[in-house]
Every structure is written in C-alpha cells, then in structure tokens.
Symmetry: D2
Subunit: 464 residues, 4 copies
C-alpha cells in the first residue's frame, strides 16, 4: 500500500516557477532528480543512528518524492517515507524545514550556479572554477539567509566524530551548554555524535538565557548527507556542492572553532584549517581554535598533537589550545576571544558574518575527487612546503572518509579494493599509527562491526 | 564642498560578494553603474513633484554613489544627494530601504538573469526571450520577497495618472482608505498622483484595523523611475527590467484592479489588461476590474468606455465596472470579489500570490522599443484580430509615454521630432479625440506648461 | 428586530473572573453598568462628528451590552450597536480594541482602586484622596501597558479644539506628520479635530519611517468620552477616573506638549500646565511647550498670549514658544528638545516614561466638581498667588467645558441656568473677551447652531 | 568586600510607584521585605541541589536586596548574591526574570489582595476567605500573564519528587521530550528532579518542532521556594500565596496531569486531585491523569495504587492510567486526550486557559496550617465521606512536607518534636508502609543523610 504525505511549503522557496518544477520532475533517469530524492530520504532518516548510505537507499527503494503546485505554494509529496521522523503521524517540523532546505539549495546550485549532477557518483559533475569558489560559497550562504543579520553571530563551529562513545557525547553536550549560556551559536556538519551534542546542549543554554534566536546551523553536502543525516535541532540546514566548499563555509562563517575527538573526517577538518592558518597571508587572522574532550581523552589529543608537530611543525601546534575535562573553561575562552575576533573584523572592515579576508589557497579550494589514481598520486612526503603537505594530508583523509561513508567511495572500494597511499616512510608510519588508533577506538564507522580499512599504507622499502 | 552620507545595509542584500561589488564599481563609463546611479538619484527624489528625468539628472550632476564593505555589511555612500528625502539631516527610512531595493534588483537582473544595460537609452540592452519572460517576472518578485506569504495577499493594483487634479487625488485616497479598511493591500507604479493617494489612504485604513503588515507595493522600471520616483510609503519597491515585465508583474500579482483617471500610461495599462482578458484562454480568469473616479468624472469614463467599445468591442466593455463618486462601494465590490478570486485559484491549484494560469500571448510579452520606425510601423487598423489590435494600441500608448517622460523617448523626440502614427481614419480620429482630451485635462505632464505632443496622428487621405 | 454582535476578547483583560463578570452584569439600576454601557456606546460612535452626549444616548436607547464567558475568554455582546464603526458588517479592529480598553479600565478602577460610580452624573462618586492620586494615575497607565517600554517614548501630547475649521485641521495633520517623521509618538484627548489630526499625520510619517510601533495614545474620562469619542487610529485608549487625573496623566507621560487652537478645554489644559510650571519646585523641569497653528492664526495666539500675560505674568509667557505656519519647525524644535528632556530624566534618575519629579500641588490634583455653587465660589481675583489663580482659572474653564459638552454639566445648566462667575472687573473683562472670541470662532460646540453660553460673567459694579 | 549587582528591569512591573517602592524598602524588621529578600535568595540559588532552606539562609546572611528607580525603570540591586547563577560574571537571563517575577507577585499579593506577611513563619499571615480564593488564584495567574493567550495552551502539569534517582530523572526528561514533540507545554512546581526533567526534555522537543513559544511554567509559594528553587528553564515563574492556591492553580490551568514517582509532596498532590475528581459535581470533568515512571518502577506505582484503592476506593483508581517505561505512549495518550478536553471546554463554554467549572470544595481551598495541634486533630479514620478523607490525607501529607523542607515546619519540629498522627489502625498501617517506603527510597530529602521522620504514626491500641 502506498503511503503519501503532503507537506505545506515553508521558507523562501515556497513558490516555484514552472521552469524550476521541471528541473525536479520525478524521473528515474534524471541525475538531479535522483540526488534530490536521495537527499530527501537522508533528511527523513533524521535520528537514526546509521551511517551506511547504501543500506539506507536499499531499505527505502520504493520511496519517492514529487512536487505539486498549490494555491499556497509548492507542496512536497513524500511517497512511502521512513517513519522515524513522524510523531503521532505528523512529520517533525524541523525535518519538514530540512526538506525545503534541500529543495532550495539544489535548485539554487542548479539555476544560479549551473551545477550539473552525477547521480551515479552522488555528486556534482562540474567542479566550480577556483576563482569563483568563494563567491559561490558566499552566495549559497546568503541565499539560505545564513548571513542575514548585521549583528555578530558569534558562530562557534564544532567539529568531531559522528561515531563516539557516550562519555564523549555527554561532554560535547556540556560544551554546547556552556557555549549556549554565553549566547553564542553552534555550527556543525549536522550529523550525529559530536555534530549533535553541542546543539542539544546549546538549546538548553539558550533556553536559560531566553535566547529565542539561537542558531543551530548544519552545513552538509549531497555526498555525505545520507551518512550523516541532519538532526532535527538544526534550524538552518545548508547543502553545499562539495566538501571543499563545505569546509570553506565552515571557516568563513565561524568566530571560533572547537574540535572534539573524532576520526578521519575530523582530522581532515583540522588539517584544512591548520593549512590555511599557516599561510603567510593569514598571519593576522583571529580564529580561536580549541581542541577539547573529557578528561579521560588526554591521550587522544596528545596523539593528534604529536602528529601535527611531526608533520606541520611547532608553528601549527601553537595555533590551538588543548583543554580537557573543563567545558566551562572552553565556553569562557571562546567568549573572551570574541572581542578580539570582532575587533579584527572592524579594523580590516570585514563582515561580521563572513570572513572575506581569510586567504584560501587554490590548492584548498579545488575539488579533490578521490579515486584510486588520485589517492595514489598524492604527494605525502615531508619534502614539500608545509602548506602543500597540509593540503595533501587533507585530501588524503578526505579520500578515506569517502571510502568509509560516502556512497561513491564505498562503491569504488568495493570494485577496486582499498586506496593505496604512498609517501615518506616516517610520515607513513605516523599515519598508520594515527589511523590504527581511530580504528581501535571505533571512530571509523557507526555499526560496531569490525572495521575493514578502505586504504593500505605503503611504507617505502628503502626504509624498511 | 562634498556632502557624503553613509547608509547602513538593510534587507536581504546587505552582504555582497566581491564579484558583485565589482559590478557596481563607480565608473563613469560603465552602463550598469550609470543606470544604478540614476535610479538611486530618482529614489532620493522622493516627494518632489517633477516628472522630467533630464532636468533631475542635470540638477544633480555632481551626485555620486559608492559601495563600501564594512563589518555589518555593505554600505551605500551617497555623495551630494538631494536633500528632499532627509529629515533633520537623516534620510527617511523608507527611502533608505528603496536604495537597497535598487541595489538588490539591479544586481539580480545582472547576475541571475544576465541583463546588460544601455545607459545611453536608460534601459536593458538585451530583451528577455519570451519563453522565459514569465519565469523572470516571477523570479524577480520572489527574490524581492513579494511572494513570500502563503496567505492570500488580496493585492489590489491601482492604476491612474501621475498628474491629476486635487479632487481626483483626494478620491484616490478615499478609495485607498476603503481598501485598507477591508484589510486589502495596494500595488501601484509607485509615482505621485494616483500611484500615491491609494497608499496614503490605505495606510490610515490599515492603522484603524491594526493591520501592521500592510503592503504598499511599488513596481517600477529603470526607464520610468526618474519620472515617477517612488513615494516613501511604498514599503516594497521592485524594479522590473522593462515595461512589459512590469505590466506582467502587475497583472499576475493582483487580486483586483482599480483604474483611476489618468493619461496615456493609464490607457496603456487598461488596453494591456483588456487585451489579455479577451484571449480565449483567459475566459475563466477572475480579475475584478473597476474604473472609478469622483462623481464629477463621469464624462471621463464615458469617453474611455466609448473608445474601448469602438475599438475592442462590447465584450471588452463587459469586463469592467464603472463606479463614480462612491469609494466605499469600490471597496465593497473588491472585497466581495476576493472570495471568488481565491476560489478560482484553489480550483485550478494556482498560487494565491502569482497568477500562473493567466495566459499572456507573446505579442504582449515581447519588449517593444518605441522608435520613429517602430511607432510608424504599428498596425492601427480595425481590420485585425481584436487581441492584436489591443496589443498594438498598448504599444502605441507605451511609445507616447516614453516620448513624454522617459529619458530615452524625450531624447528621440528632441532629435527627430514627434512620432508619426498611422492607421484607419476612424480609429485615428478616436485616438485624436482621446489624446486631445488628456492634453486638455493636463494629464500628460506635471509641469503645467503647455503640452507639446510627442506624436502626430495621420488620418488617411482617403477618408478626409 | 434585535441586532447582536459578539466580539472576541482582545488585550490583557480577555479573561475575567466570575466576580468581575458580576460587577458588570447587565442591570439598568446599577451605576457601574450604566456608565460602562454608555462608554461602550461612545466608543462605537467613533467617526461621528457630534459632541452632544445626550443626543447620542437618546438615539441609541435600545443599545445594550453584555458579557459572556467563552472558551477563548470573555466576549462582549453588543445589542443594537450604532453602525458607523462597522465596515461591510465587521467592526473596525481599532474600535473593537477600544471596547475592551473600556472594560479593562472600568474594572480596574473599581476592583483595584475602589471607584464607585454615579451614573446620574456620569462620573465617579468618590474622589481619590490627593495623597494617592499620583499612584492611581501611574497604576492606571501601567495597567494599560502605557509605560511598558524601557526606551524613551518621545511622547508628544497634543492639545487643541475638538471643533476646528478645516484649515486648522489640516495644519494639525501636517504637524503630526512632522512629529511622526521624527519617530516621536502622539498623545491626545482622543476626540475629533486637533485630537485626531496629529495622529493621522503621524501615521503617515511613521509609515514612511517604517516605525511599526508608533503609538497613538488617547486619554479620556467617562464624563467626556461621549462628547469626544476616540477615533479608531488611537491604538492605546485609556479611561482615567476624572479630568484631574487625565490632566496629570498627560503631563507626566509627555516629553513635549503642542497646543493647537481650541476653546475652553484647550485653555483649561494650558492653564493647568502653566500653573504647574510656575511652581518653584518645578523650576528645573524640562517640558518643551509649543503653541502653534496655521500662519493665519497669529491673532489667535496673540490673544491667548495677552491673556496669559495679563493674568499669570511674564514668567508664564516665557514658558512656551509660539510658532505659526511652520509644521516642520515645530517637529524640529520638539526633536531637538528631546535630548535635554532625557538628559534631565537621567540626571535626576527619573523614569523615561513617567515624570515622577514633576510636582503637582494638591489644588491641581483635587477633584473639582463644577456646580452652580462651586463655580460661583471660585476666587477669580488677581489678588492671590499666581499658582492659585492658575488653579482657579483652570477650574473655571473646566466648569465651562462641563456645561458645554459633559452630560452632567448640560443637565445642571438646563435645570438651573448658566453658571455665574465672579471676580475682579479687569480679569472678568479679559475672560469675557477671550470666551467671546471662542464663541465667535465656533470653538465651543460642533453642531454649528448658535452657541448659548453656559456661563454669565459678572463684572463687579464698582468698576462699571 | 561588598559585591553589588544591578539588574535592569524586565517584565510588566519594570515601573514602580513610590508607594510600591516603600512597601519593599529594605528594613530588617519588616515582614514583607524579609520574605521578599528570602525569595530572591532562593531564586538566585537556582541550580544548586539543596533543599534545606535554613542552611541556605544561614550561608548567605550578608545577602541583601534593594530597589532603585532609574530612568529605564526600577532596578533590583543584589548585595553579595550567591554566584551559582552567574556565567562569566553575568546573571543568567532566566534567573534575572525570576527575580522580577518575585517582585511582581509579592507586590500584587500585597497591594491588590491585601496579603500580610509573617516572616517568622515565612508565610502569609491572613488566609484568604474561601469565597474569593478562586478569584485570587485566577487574578494572580492573569496578572503574571499566564492566561493571556486565547489559544488552548495544552498545559501538562507534571508532579513528582524533587529528590529522585538518575534513572527516574532521565525518564522524566524522556516524557518531557515526547510532550514537547507534540507541541504541549509543561507546568511544574519548579524545583529540581521531576520538576526540572520534563522541562529540559520539552525544550529539546520544542526546538525540533520549531516551537518558539514553548511554556515552562513554574508555580511555587514563598514557603517552599527556598527548598525547591526554580530552575532557569522555567520561563514563567509565579509565586502563589500558599499551597492551597498553588494546588488550585495547578489543576485549573492544566489540560492533563502526569505524576512521576515522588515522596509525600507528590502524594499530597495526587490525593488533592483525586479528592476533587471524586466530587459529584466534577463527574463530567475531563482531566487526563497518568501515573508514570521507568519500567523498573512498576512496584512503586502498585504501592500507590494499593493505597488509593484501600483508602479512596475503586472509583478513585479508575481516574488514572498507569504507564511504565514508555515515554512515547505517555505523550500520545496526552495528545489524544487534548481533543476531548477542549471539546468539553467548548461545550460548557469554559475558558481554554482556566478550568472554571472544576468544583473545589471549601475543605480543599481553606488554608491548612500544619501545627502539632492541627496535625494531631486530623481525622484519619475510614469512617467518613471519601472526599473528606481525601482532604484530610492531603492535609496530613502537606504537614509532613512542611516538617521536611519548609522553614516554618522544620522550626516547629525542632522545637516540639515530630507531629503525631492519629487514625484508624488499618489506615495508619497503610500510611506507615507508604511513608516508610518513601524514606527507604530516599524520596524525603535531598541531602542523602539518614532521614529522621518529622512524624510519628500512632496505631490505636485497640487494634494492636
């Protein structure tokens, strides 16, 4: 029996033109429609702790989505939707909004920024030229009303694992609570774990402070959304075209960044940011960066710190502060830093809501598509400029994330076996140690089954 | 001495990207910048009763406008602005908003719809292809948030002269008051006279009814804005690319139309609408249309009615109701009609806020550029389908408006003398009578000086 | 046939207890109910230009009002209401609110401040003890939420005639417009004429400045409301127990006062204020006071100025500024004065929204009930302290207002003939001249019929 | 060193008259001031898990509070406040609001309802006459704006222990979450434990449903507030004069009641409600009543159910539903019941926001002051009407609560030893069993020390 749910329009794209309707006309062969449908499915999967996109798509093969123009605007019709996001038969309002956010961003990518979709690979076919990447990031954020206010948003970006133990999860809530108590907002990659905890905590902090305009901003991308479906607390959901623009959105919209324990995705994010901050042109930037976790996770951060020290050097290590077991101290440190962040923006005449003056080298902006070739070709030697090494390490971790949880990557690995990584022996060993620790701590995947690595690390013979 | 005023950003385009800033960089040679500057100047001229664009531009030759990105968003800097819109040295908030509306719409035309500007002619260089005209109209309205609400807007479009005697002006206020008392909103071409009175009246009606969300929507175009600067009550200002899209916006957004006495512009609007309604595909459309004025203007409407009867026939006459000297009856009639308008939208599943099902033939959508050739070439014979005649009469009046008040048209006339109009003798005579009556009643121009026609009507010899 | 209209509750008193319902139970013998009913009738008479309370009550003898408790709160049921305030059969929202304001204030007077009503005289039976008068005024204003904001209200009190010629009325609109353009609010006695014009003008000014929170505060009293029914623009209506508390409310809530041409009521208000300002304890007070009218009313203000000079002296004359024919100058002067008003409040730690530090001598606070005795007993000699003279003149004019338009006063005059006034010959002559000019200019009554004075002025023989 | 914090006014009582300021003038001898000060101290103790009022007062002996009138309204000055409620030196906004709620309610009790305070006993000296009790309850709720909306509030009252184990606390959060997900609101006695958990859960549920107007209503009384300080999520705090009016407020404002495991206070609440529902006049009332706890608490509810059955009988048992271990089922049951609650209110024409038609017998309204005499005198025999037995049992439990946590009660017990309870042997034994189980489960007091009963149960000899 077919179960159909009709949703009233919400948000700025509640009215669509015929041209736009045509773009998303249900059609099993059309790439854009397929990705739109899958993103909707992912959003509806809110609250389910599962990071296997393929399994999700398999389970809901008979799910479908249609648009219908009505007197009050366009309606989204869901056919055979998953039931998790329904309460007494009614879709949770937050999830309802997320569906219209998917619609909004997919249409805008396509009609304003000419994105072409590749549904087989669940991504955009045509990479954005680097020279307009920042404009696209900005325009997507503005169009989704994420830059609207003229007041400083005090947006704290929280990075960390989607698959984390209860103790760490509680700690992310505690930190979020302290951030919320100080009137600051939260932005994450919008999945479970460290991407959900801080928002939950901040919601309570905001309630106590009577902050009714608290922002829980989730920034995702079509290729990851199914693995990390946005939780319903996210009250602003934005779908960026690819991981590079997602990372750029994180750093340009932030007024402070917190890194919780996580796996390769978190490592990718940290290396991306450190790579930028090491750039000479960014030496005056003010971006408070705190690595934090429960008191018991001291070792974890020492391992990360060692890896950074051994690869990017002391300067990189000086760019963050490690705090363990003290959520209130994290909140205070971020709060105090806000003044100098805003002072800097004022001084250089930069926007409070979008950090234009942060320089992002092309190497960090260009779309990296992880394939067996591109992964193999990565230069992972220590004999290169530090910024370049950071960029390559970032890409390397990005590829592993894809191999772990992105539909496209999983497919590739299934077909051709694990990615091969090449590089200096000493660097390769360090990576091996770091990645092995992530595996051991269960940070790679959610399901709890033994993890099968999607990569092999080749330590050069010469050094063996 | 230079007088510089810096304006804080308001509205959805308060943040701009570098690419966008570059588009509007001050440059005396750039077409887009020139038109932007002129539109700003026109907006600042709010409240001045003057419809001579050239005189305005001449007076404020040393006026300039710049953009500057600051921490709270982009600022508009006005250099040597006219002082009319300032109160105790502070710009009126409504005018302030209008400047940002100009910025928003000019950028959007350019960056989303690829408009290229021709500053010498004060218009867009590249006409929109007819097949996407409706999409552009819709997208411009949506982008300016004019379609946002899912509630029926009950938007009453008021047409009428910009140059009208006090008695008529008071009557437009009275009708606006009755419309506002019934909770309906007002949309006009946003200049003085019949475009301002209904808004002023409605503002009082809304105040009495505690309607805080009253809408006073002004739809203009770059080539007319200087002659008919938006009054500050307009709380939504939209600049459409050209008159054809402006007319389309009026009719698609309306839930009822009132025509007050006016000159050729008003005649153009009326003929445009009658042309559409006569189309077979629109026979089920519900668009209440009321021609109204003070009791003393009975003759005026009889003349109009005669002209319509003689040219478009009885069917056309049956599409409107003429009410004189009874503002309250106008309000009631519109109010009562709302139910069937909404009923129709529900029945056909059309949007409450944009009349998609209204068919607009290509002939009405295509940009008509009035030149001596195009005006001369107009087929003004009675031997053609009525819809086609309506389209041509519309263009003819449109050309006369241009010759009267648009910078481009005035320039053409100055250079090459009046437009020549050709057609059937009987039709030409009727036009002559109608136009002569407009001249006599002072409806052509504001300044009060004797009117010098920008046209000559050639009555064919055969019939002389 | 009975026509019954049921009104949904609005405002803070939308829920009533059984005890409160009982207080207002329909009962032809109960004083409070009678006054409540009459005030409702007066409010429903909004927009009618008539100041004869008796005629109004006579016309709507079969009007009745009932309360009914329903699931969404208490409903007011109107039986056979006047139709002026209905639009297409629906009560104007502003008038709807006013009815609930009447309910709120009548109940609060009674239940919190123990007011007992005397319906025969259409006033409160038990005068408030002077020592708590200020508390009552304050508490009534706070309860009606007129003091809510912590921001300065920039409340401009406008006094002036209810019966004025068109030219003066237009001028009051122009001044209101200039006040509204500067973001200031309007408070009046809430009837027609100079009490309505400034609000109408300010509503347009506020619309242009996008002020959505514009306040149009009307302060009335049970005994005058029928003669001066609140216009529907009034968005905060407050019913004070008596004229003395109404005057106190005006001056304590104001941040500036404008006096337009008017009759005896206006003279009463001006003398009240001058009497206060002449008090030694108020010498540091900042209350900008402007007497203004069209350019053609220069003579009028000269006459007033002369009378003030001759009675209260030069010091009193120095307390106001006379501006004629320049609405914009009035707006500017008030705007500029705001800074020092607020500076004074800050300095003495007084509330922005209620002028506690203004000293009001008991003589000005005590309820004065005009009867033939009390009027005759007034000491109108120049041989008394100026403050005392001001108080007595205030009472004298107050009595004449009652005799002109208050139900109770009209009744008294009908029964016992005009009030006799006694005093110094020179003062009596000046009064005679002033009052005669009011009569001649038609400022006493609205109806246009020849005015029959409700007073006789006795000039002592000795001086004849 | 003195630490002084000045708080800006918030809420409806941000402006005070001089008379009101005088009432609360700092004065160590004045009863009202003392209670005001203590309530402020209690509110500032938000978040501290401590239910010993005396200990609190002892710790903060040098705490003081003053009022100061400033230009923006009255400021509250705190001298040496506890630091728990401050974040980075700034008072939590929720607590800030609570202080002004205390001010508002204390003043209103005193000035409107003539309450006289007895600071030695930390309560009101003069009990309200029963005939106006409901009016007072209503008026206090309305004045604090708790009845404002005309929409059904769907207010779910949650009762349960302030001292509960973690497992139960988590369950209260889960139930609150399910209630919030369904858009319903929460009202509790506003302390820790089962009074805080449901609000926290609902806050997350509301966030997911984009409910920005979620209500977390806390109703307390001067004599309990110190033992059960309101948590900062409470966004509407109301201080009722005594426990009887607090109970009446709970039941009249509710649209459904949830009882979590608790101690004697919870038992008091349950018996109060059952007593009312057993009254013949309330037989048509619709008040969904659910007893719920974690799956592991089945025994607890069986014990309660037995006690109710043995004392009040089967009919009483039929008035509630027991659900264990299924928060979602609790949410659904309440949600479904709302329709019939509202239907009933509509049918009888009762307010959605205050259940006027619920009959509360005088015996339940009259203030019961627990003393050694009054407790001893309680008729706890089974030989009396059930409603009367319920009333007496309610009083009995109320006395034990006082002896446990209210300042006054603790003092009495300290001076005169435990309260003696007399009654039928079988009833006494049942009470003994029930109370002993509360003691054993640690539900009497928070501190964890062995509980010393404030009562002795006398089982009659005859039956021994």
């Amino acid at each position: 029996m077919t179960n159909t749910v009709r949703l009233n329009p919400v948000g700025s794209m509640s009215q669509l033109s015929q041209l736009e309707m045509n773009l998303l006309e249900q059609s099993t062969t059309d790439d854009m429609y397929q990705i739109f449908r899958n993103c909707c499915l992912a959003v509806l999967n809110s609250g389910v702790e599962q990071d296997d996109a393929e399994a999700l798509f398999e389970t809901y093969k008979n799910f479908n989505v249609k648009l219908a123009r009505k007197e009050r605007g366009v309606k989204i019709e869901l056919i055979n939707p998953p039931q998790n996001a329904f309460v007494d038969g009614k879709l949770i309002a937050g999830v309802h909004e997320h569906l219209f956010a998917v619609l909004r961003d997919m249409l805008y990518m396509s009609s304003k920024h000419n994105a072409q979709f590749d549904s087989a690979k669940h991504r955009i076919r045509t990479p954005t030229p680097a020279n307009i990447a920042t404009h696209v990031v900005f325009d997507m954020l503005r169009h989704s009303d994420a830059l609207g206010s003229t007041e400083p948003a005090n947006m704290i970006v929280c990075w960390g694992g989607h698959s984390i133990p209860v103790e760490e999860y509680k700690y992310t809530k505690a930190v979020g609570y302290q951030i919320g108590l100080r009137g600051m907002n939260i932005c994450t990659g919008c999945g479970p774990g460290a991407m959900k905890g801080p928002m939950k905590g901040a919601a309570i902090g905001h309630a106590k402070q009577r902050v009714k305009t608290g922002r829980y901003l989730g920034i995702t991308e079509p290729s990851i959304i199914a693995a990390e479906p946005p939780n319903a607390i996210v009250n602003e959901l934005i779908i960026m075209p690819d991981i590079e623009k997602r990372l750029e959105a994180f750093v340009r919209i932030s007024h402070g960044i917190v890194v919780f324990p996580g796996g390769v995705g978190t490592a990718e994010e940290l290396l991306y940011l450190l790579g930028l901050l090491l750039d000479e042109k960014n030496k005056d930037q003010k971006i408070p960066l705190i690595l934090t976790g429960p008191a018991s996770r001291k070792d974890y951060f020492e391992a990360i710190d060692d890896f950074v020290g051994a690869t990017l050097g002391k300067e990189a290590q000086s760019m963050y502060q490690i705090i363990t077991g003290d959520a209130s101290k994290v909140g205070s440190a971020l709060n105090i830093a806000q003044e100098e962040v805003l002072e800097y923006r004022r001084k250089v005449g930069d926007s409070y809501s979008f950090n234009w003056t942060l320089h992002i080298p092309e190497d960090f902006q260009q779309t990296f598509i992880p394939t067996h070739e591109s992964m193999k070709a990565l230069d992972l030697s220590l004999e290169q400029p530090i910024s370049s090494l950071a960029a390559n390490l970032r890409k390397c971790f990005s590829g592993i994330v894809a191999g772990n949880v992105k539909a496209e990557g999983i497919e590739e690995i299934k077909r051709h076996g694990p990615f091969e990584l090449h590089g200096d022996a000493s660097l390769m060993r360090k990576m091996d140690v770091l990645l092995a620790s992530f595996v051991k701590q269960g940070r790679m995947k959610l399901n709890g089954a033994p993890y099968e690595p999607c990569y092999v690390i080749n330590v050069p013979d010469a050094e063996s």
